[in-house]
Symmetry: C2
Subunit: 352 residues, 2 copies
């Protein structure tokens, strides 16, 4: 592969001059510039980004560590992140933690070794000293979706509490009284927050959320199935199940189908995270939709702000309930989104 030396030789100038035209430095004569450009074209020269990064100490790459690539929520997030990053001149390297802290650390380490300019993370369950150390040591880090309390790191996320209240109101109106939740790992914020939101919303109706009605999953499909089977084996199974993410809902559907039960007559189901297929399931599934694209864009903006030396702010967007038929609504109805709530707090007080 041609190097800058080859270009310099072909153009009859020094490598410094080649570098200058490549980097649009003003002080280059028109003549030199055109000879360099001609040589570049003739040789099909492309600057070696590795060498450039070593010299400039920037890679123009962002790391994105997500919980699970098989989760459509995260792929939609990844897509918007890449798009926003590209618009700002950065590329993104995705690491799939597969919901495993060890795999997450593997990716964080690899990304750090490769000297990415900044890190976007949706932390897997468990604590990650590695990640926190990196942030403390000065690597620009931003949390998306999930976050680790106490870290001096901006957080970009959706607050689902209002939507969960709307969901519980919907379930209550339809006569469901015995409500269960398939929770995510307690070691993640989304794992615990969604349970808390659900419990609080139930309390407003005087409904308790007993331990037997809180199943502990890991955000992946198999756990949703296992937990749902446990619910169905209860002496008194729940009327309605709320899955804290779409993959656990997939597992729940498997379990419900395997028992020959029918939704919503035998059991109702609602899900955190809306995906395109929920319109076409049997029955269509009531879900809480996050503004995923907006989250990705806001997260990139915050991270690039940090990278480029500006202050970054935490961002909290609103989620909303999308009513379909899986809980017993008579017909597909869309609760219109309320005026989008949007709170921003400076990073110093970034614990939302």
């Amino acid at each position: 592969m041609a190097s800058i030396k080859d270009v310099a030789a072909a153009a009859g100038v020094s490598v410094a001059t080649v570098s200058r035209v490549l980097n649009a430095h003003p002080s280059v004569s028109a003549d030199a510039r055109s000879r360099v450009l001609a040589a570049v074209a003739a040789l099909g020269y492309r600057p070696n980004a590795v060498a450039r990064s070593l010299r400039t100490d920037q890679t123009h790459a962002l790391g994105l560590v997500i919980g699970d690539v098989l989760n459509p929520y995260f792929t939609e997030l990844a897509r918007s992140v890449e798009e926003a990053a590209r618009a700002l001149g950065y590329s993104v390297i995705i690491g799939n933690a597969d919901e495993r802290p060890d795999l997450q650390d593997h990716h964080v380490r690899t990304l750090l070794d490769r000297r990415i300019d900044g890190l976007l993370v949706s932390p897997a369950p468990g604590d990650s000293p590695l990640l926190l150390d990196a942030a403390r040591a000065g690597t620009p880090v931003v949390f998306v979706d999930r976050w680790i309390p106490g870290a001096e790191v901006p957080v970009v996320r959706a607050d689902g509490r209002r939507a969960v209240r709307d969901l519980v109101a919907h379930l209550h109106l339809l006569g469901h009284r015995r409500l269960a939740i398939i929770a995510g790992p307690a070691g993640t914020t989304t794992g615990s927050e969604r349970v808390t939101a659900f419990r609080d919303a139930l309390a407003a109706y005087g409904l308790p959320l007993t331990d037997e009605l809180v199943g502990h999953g890991d955000f992946q499909a198999a756990s949703g199935r296992r937990v749902t089977e446990g619910f169905l084996d209860l002496p008194e199974p729940p009327d309605a199940v709320f899955a804290a993410d779409n993959l656990m809902a997939l597992g729940a559907l498997d379990a419900i189908r395997a028992r020959g039960l029918r939704m919503p007559d035998d059991i109702a189901l609602a899900v955190f995270d809306d995906i395109p297929w929920f319109v076409h399931t049997d029955p269509p599934i009531t879900a809480i939709a996050q503004p995923t694209g907006d989250l990705g864009r806001a997260a990139v903006r915050a991270l690039v702000d940090r990278i480029e030396g500006r202050t970054a702010e935490s961002v909290t967007l609103d989620a909303r309930l999308v009513v379909r038929r899986s809980c017993g609504a008579p017909a597909p109805v869309l609760i219109p989104p309320t005026s989008p709530m949007r709170r921003s707090t400076p990073v110093q007080r970034s614990t939302p």
Copy 2:
């Protein structure tokens, strides 16, 4: 961040010795080794992969350019690719072409600039001189799923012809005679091959595939909807529609649902690429399943063979029909997988 110099100073040795213990070079005294290790631990030193890459001319990174991250088929592929690559000591950088040749080229260029050790590509429609030039110039390249004829590049893919024949037999048995296909872009092999396979299979039953029954999509959802609406507007709409990928099937479902039609009574639907949600749609959808994980693993094996100087072979695996109820089967039936066919051809004659 601590550099190798800092470690050397802390350990009281030269940077050469530090480098040797880091790279497990045999000729280092036990004493030096332990002092270096202690210094590494004390400083939390991590070698700079950028500098190492510049020096060794290898990044231990693989590029993977896929058609669309929002397509569950590609994310499953990406997952198995990353897993297999990790087991061999490589990390993978995913580029999402979003089915656009220009975006594909952007990612190929970026990956090449970053000097990835090899490239796994499922080419977007249209020809990519950039990609072909890179392969010709010696960058290890392997095609997965889709490929470009005439290139001296190994191809790892599934052959769906037998499964398509099984599908047509299934449709014919159920009485469907007017069959349509939502094709992918003609500029991709999977776009054209699936139409050919379908046409050939129909011909065996004396059924023609007229132009009005071949809709041209782009493998994304919106096109599936548009094409399906066209089919439904025909004076004589088809009895059954075969979508060449799962996202176009999603669009087809949208169109069918919007007209208030019912599957399979009003119209049958079958899809290339099986995904977990197809068990739970209304009705469950008959699909052709690829051995996606195997494809990803075989592709990595082939690419790493090339990178490490061994010869790589093209691999063709078999796809299989999974019958559900969307075409009118009375009950869920699984056609047992036949003995897995597996053909391998040396790369020299890699045009499968």
